[in-house]
Symmetry: C2
Subunit: 345 residues, 2 copies
Amino acid sequence: MAATASNKRVILKRYVTGFLSEDDMEVVTTEAPPLAVPAGSEAVVVKNLYVSCDPYMRNRMTRHEMPSYVPDFVPGEVLANFGVMRVISSGHPDFKAGDLVWGITGWEEYTVINNPESLFRINHPKLPLSYYTGILGMPGLTAYAGFFEVSKPKKGDYVFISAASGAVGQIVGQLAKIIGCYVVGSAGSDEKVSLLKTKFGFNDAFNYRKEPDLKAALRRYFPEGIDIYFENVGGETLDAVLPNMRLGGRIAACGMISQYNLEWPEGVKNLFYIVTKRLRMEGFLVFDFYDKYYQFEEEMARYLKEGKVAYVEDVVEGLDAAPAALIKLFTGRNVGKQLVAIARE
Amino acid sequence: MAATASNKRVILKRYVTGFLSEDDMEVVTTEAPPLAVPAGSEAVVVKNLYVSCDPYMRNRMTRHEMPSYVPDFVPGEVLANFGVMRVISSGHPDFKAGDLVWGITGWEEYTVINNPESLFRINHPKLPLSYYTGILGMPGLTAYAGFFEVSKPKKGDYVFISAASGAVGQIVGQLAKIIGCYVVGSAGSDEKVSLLKTKFGFNDAFNYRKEPDLKAALRRYFPEGIDIYFENVGGETLDAVLPNMRLGGRIAACGMISQYNLEWPEGVKNLFYIVTKRLRMEGFLVFDFYDKYYQFEEEMARYLKEGKVAYVEDVVEGLDAAPAALIKLFTGRNVGKQLVAIARE
């Protein structure tokens, strides 16, 4: 195992303002870290197989006045996000060379992970490993926890999901169908709408780019109103949803992707409906639900093996393609969960 | 008892757009209704003693496209709101002439109430009767239910209250102090700020009109952040609060008075903090807590008798003064709970 292997990596070139562009990132090749953990260290060295592209990464590329829930990226340093990895050297008693894990890693070929306690074991390696960047990983747990723990669904509830064909939305919709909800999703292309209706079994779906009056569209799709809105986009979609909520409705605020590239977020005007309709809008972050991960993994692995949920990925090959893949999330050109295959074993 | 008594009343002249003005209402004198209930009717006839001026009345003066939680007022018809009344004739088995009650009545001298089930009995008539338009009535229950049931306070929580010297705010702040919270309120004049700090025992208070940067002011008053925001005003105050909330904070959305006279509400830009700080923002209406009223009445009456809570009213005399009194709520010129004394017994 050569200590002098090279390490291709994606670094942040500068803090980003406005719309993210490929120029904000750079793919460089440096010397790899020592691929064996020094004696006495509890670190592990991993070979990265897949890394996930997630919208929240954009927030980390802006310098924040006040610390956010995750540290800002640093110009000149490697990007980091959830990935699927093979342990190649371990100083930690819980891991050994050859183990498959997922967790936060670098956008690079090899990474030294100094806090291996943050890693999750992969218990279903016969399912596609890449799924652990998505339906079996962070976005899957996000969908599961956000839907069941935050929006408190009941059979028969009317559920609306924005960005519904994305990593989280497609899973929320299928979980909602499993427990007997009526589910409508919005997405930004006819191809995605077709996926929602056929592959994911949503009751209905629409292309928001073709709806000049989103509030009226929602009234058409939900003549009885919306019990649960799974919020992935924010801004004017949220404004159109609020008047369409039912009394006592719940809004699980998972993300607001429409706002991440705006220097000044759009104002949401219809918040008074929170009072008049007694709505509960609650934000959540997947980190707060990590203790439920292995229970979730078993349940979702079973659904996958039984064919009860479908899953669509958008995979690009190699780190050179990673910056463009990340940007696709914000232009809406990805179809399904976006990820990068760094090494296929 | 003359069936031909006259009845002074305040009617809505026209649907209101923009800022409410006295011209939108009219005080007229008509013939009183028959002051004895006809045989067979279950109605009651009441003499109105006090009526309450509440911000939500403004919402009922606009014609709504979609039905709201309370019906719109109708031009040409009498305004209605919570009041304190003496029953003068009753066809209902639960009430008899002479009973003191509170509930929804007309802005007039005499009212026939066709649904007496909606009335509450007054069990502490030795306390000032006018208190049943406020601390012992709807605003009191609003404060009590919104604070305890919606914002779920714990001892030591940092609590911020806007419109803090108003009918609801002054009560929320004192309840919060009773259970050991740290309480800061904002209000729109130095006189009100002084009331908050002295009479109501808030830990601190400030005049928002003197704070050019509300977000910075809140950071000064809450260096540790805010656990509970009791929302009475909306708009830019909410925008300044959101970045100052602590992880897991709660926003009890009671009202948004800053928005009621605007044709287009202000946009709230900082909603993404709901995600990153895992906030819960929940609206509520007092109607949902009516079943707790008599329990609340006993508790609050005890606090009043023991001197544990103070209460400040702003009373105008007579229905002729009622339109101007209602408008004071929106210019912020009332000090304490605004009400109209129609008849003092």
